[in-house]
Symmetry: C2
Subunit: 111 residues, 2 copies
């Protein structure tokens, strides 16, 4: 299995897929959700996320649908596709293996 070349950079995509897989969401919500979970670890900007959403949609891993909230505000909801679910499962495995490698290489050796 040759890992996806962009795997690591694709952690953004991985997180987005993870969020949408649990529940369809729209961009702004995803940004808030991840930033809350990330605490002080990092902070996504909207300008980072929207292009990734567009790319994921172009690649057929998610699809979108405009909806109007009760408030009257328009939101573009994203849904994961079956290809997206496959990709998510795939990326998760790759991520885990990659993490194992990082841990193995960087961990301190104890006699």
């Amino acid at each position: 299995m040759k890992i996806n070349k962009e795997l690591v950079g694709a952690s953004t995509a991985l997180l987005i897929l993870g969020v949408i897989a649990k529940s369809p969401s729209y961009g702004y919500q995803i940004v808030k959700r991840i930033n809350t979970e990330a605490q002080d670890l990092f902070e996504w900007q909207e300008g980072t996320v929207y292009p990734v959403l567009h790319k994921l949609e172009k690649d057929g891993l998610i699809r979108s649908q405009w909806q109007t909230a009760d408030t009257g505000r328009r939101r573009k909801y994203y849904y994961i596709t079956s290809r997206g679910q496959e990709a998510l499962a795939d990326y998760s495995v790759q991520w885990t293996e990659f993490n194992n490698l990082v841990v193995r290489i960087t961990e301190v050796q104890y006699a």
Copy 2:
């Protein structure tokens, strides 16, 4: 703690620092070492690693020294600096936290 903006992209640096921290190495050796450990997960190209080594040295996280092997071949050995050790410890923590986030977000929910 604001995570290093390049953390994820910095996984390359993290792995390199991890290798050198255990034992001073030269570029070609690092590439072979990581590629062996990475199995089929990915494969670093030399052209990917040398620029990172140069950047790490410029940032003072590693230092280099030319040595001539018994074979007569010249190698540029890299040593981790104290600042490099601090960075390695720091990045490791950040990586762990980041991984925890990824796992939390992407893991399947069981009732």
